[in-house]
Amino acid sequence: MNWNQIWEALAETLQMTLPSTLISYIIGLPLGVLLVITRRGGIRPMPTFNAVAGAIVNFLRSIPFIILLAMLFPVTRVVMGRAIGTVSVIFPLTVSAFPYVARMVEGSFNEVDNGIIEAAQSMGSSTFQIVRKVLIPEAMPSLINGFAICMTTILGYTAMASAAGGGGLGALAITRGLNLRQYDVMYAASIVLVILVQIITMLGSYFTRKFDHRIR
């Protein structure tokens, strides 16, 4: 078995996972903030906007990734220059992941005690100050935990990238293992994936605890 192909695939997996996660957060984090502050009883209630944004998020979240991947082919071609390939897959991955991120972020913010937000309001905070100096710092441990979960989820999605001509560990396992019956490659690729998920989860829990000052 050629280990080099495993390392190459690992590099491709990271090449898909990291930018997708990053861009999903660039879109999903503000969207999650908006979902929290614009809902009824939030600090900036805008019920209509909230309902529309919530519906879009739910719609995108309910389409299975593999189908979204196919549906987005024409759009991906326009956005990424070509419809298939490791880099192109970043686009559908992001489209699929940002609504997931938004809900995750929303959940983290919901855990922040409403009394703390009221106290901040009573001190004369602007909406932006509450988000920046109260909501995000207070939710930080949960946000970090959510980040790790989102990243492992996106990592899982990359395994389906082979359907769009993408590379990575998942594609390697499927093409070599399933199609060419090189089971050693399949198992090696899978084990590397498992280890990757373990590392992300462990780092996630470590930083979640490190950033949580509610624990004595």
Binding site: D113, G115, I116, E118, A119, A120, Q121, S122, M123, G124, S125, S126, Q129, K133, V134, P137, E138, M140, P141, F211, D212, H213, R214, I215, R216
Partner: protein, 336 residues
């Protein structure tokens, strides 16, 4: 009299709830003078929190006016509202500290959002921590503090914006009696030394008696009575006040005795004298005291007592007449 610092005019708050509405405030009018410690007392659900939350616009009243220094704060929007809120600080029963920030950062928060330069803010934070006696806890996180210490941090934070008013919603209700004492002393100290007007909300009369100059009794969203603390305690007029101070039972039905009985109300209208001993002697009855809840204020008894009544009609009449003659309010109570 000068213009009151805070004036509520016919304040109403109605919450819509599924299948109807809850009238939390049914037209409350009161005036709070600059520099006083004003108490608002009432049973659970009386509307105390709703009232105090309206004063700094955490809640918006359905109707009525709130004037601070003569300015109607219900018309304020955006930046003006923010400026008003910095003049009217608030502390809470659950402290509501930022759990992921140190004590110093918590106290600095109001200064940060007001754009105070960092060096100046840090210096002010240390001054504030000194006022509340927590200089040595600057770098601790709230989770490492006791309840009383947390409330001190909250007080320091509330003082950071140099407010004119400090609103306290059940600020001592989560604390033990000793800690309550120290927090009340701190509030009084702040009032005297810094001249900050304090509005205290509580369901405990001890809190009112200890630090307030004036008090309003809130009952079912209405002011039942209002006045100086001495006056309201000594000459309680409203039924709500009497219930609150233990002169009347909270709920007549829950308080049924197992035998025919008589409720004797001591409401301060009588000099200190051995009523029960006289009753035994003059009416020639054996008195069995079922329950008593009496305390002294200005050397007069306040509260109520429940005694067992004889079965005999004539004897009962005699007892009632005797006590009435003594100026006591009595009421016969029967078992269910």
């Amino acid at each position: 009299m000068a213009q009151p610092l805070i004036e509520l005019r016919d304040l109403k708050k109605v919450y819509p709830v599924p299948g109807g509405e809850v009238v939390a405030l049914g037209g409350v009018s009161l005036k709070i003078e600059k520099g006083e410690i004003y108490g608002i007392i009432g049973m659970s659900g009386a509307g105390k929190s709703t009232l105090i939350r309206c004063i700094n616009r955490l809640d918006t009243p359905t109707d009525g006016q709130i004037l601070i220094d003569g300015e109607n704060i219900l018309a304020l929007r955006g930046k003006e509202l923010i400026r008003m809120r910095r003049r009217v600080s608030m502390i809470f029963q659950q402290f509501n500290l930022l759990m992921q920030k140190t004590v110093a950062r918590n106290v600095r928060y109001p200064l940060e959002i007001a754009g105070v330069p960092k060096a100046q803010a840090n210096q002010r934070v240390m001054e504030l921590l000194k006022i509340v006696g927590l200089e040595d806890k600057a770098d601790a996180y709230p989770a490492q503090l006791s309840g009383g210490q947390k409330q001190r941090v909250a007080i320091a934070r509330a003082l950071a914006s140099d407010p004119e008013v400090l609103l306290c919603d059940e600020a001592t209700s989560a604390l033990d009696p000793m800690t309550t004492q120290s927090i009340l002393a701190l509030l009084k100290d702040i009032n005297e030394r810094l001249g900050i007007t304090v509005v205290v909300i509580t369901h405990e009369m001890a809190v009112i008696r200890q630090i307030c100059t004036r008090v309003a009794i809130l009952d079912g969203g209405h002011i039942a009575e209002e006045g100086s603390v001495d006056e309201v305690f000594v000459h309680t007029r409203s039924a709500a006040g009497k219930r609150l101070f233990g002169i009347l039972p909270e709920n007549e039905d829950e308080d049924r005795p197992p035998v025919p009985a008589l409720r004797i109300v001591f409401d301060g209208g009588m000099e200190n004298q051995p009523v029960i001993a006289d009753l035994v002697k003059q009416c020639d009855v054996e008195v069995n005291i079922l329950s008593a809840n009496i305390r002294r204020l200005n050397d007069k008894p306040y509260g109520q007592m429940l005694i067992e009544m004889p079965r005999d009609d004539a004897a009962r009449r005699k007892i009632v007449e005797f006590l009435n003659a003594k100026g006591l309010t009595v009421k016969e109570v029967w078992p269910q």
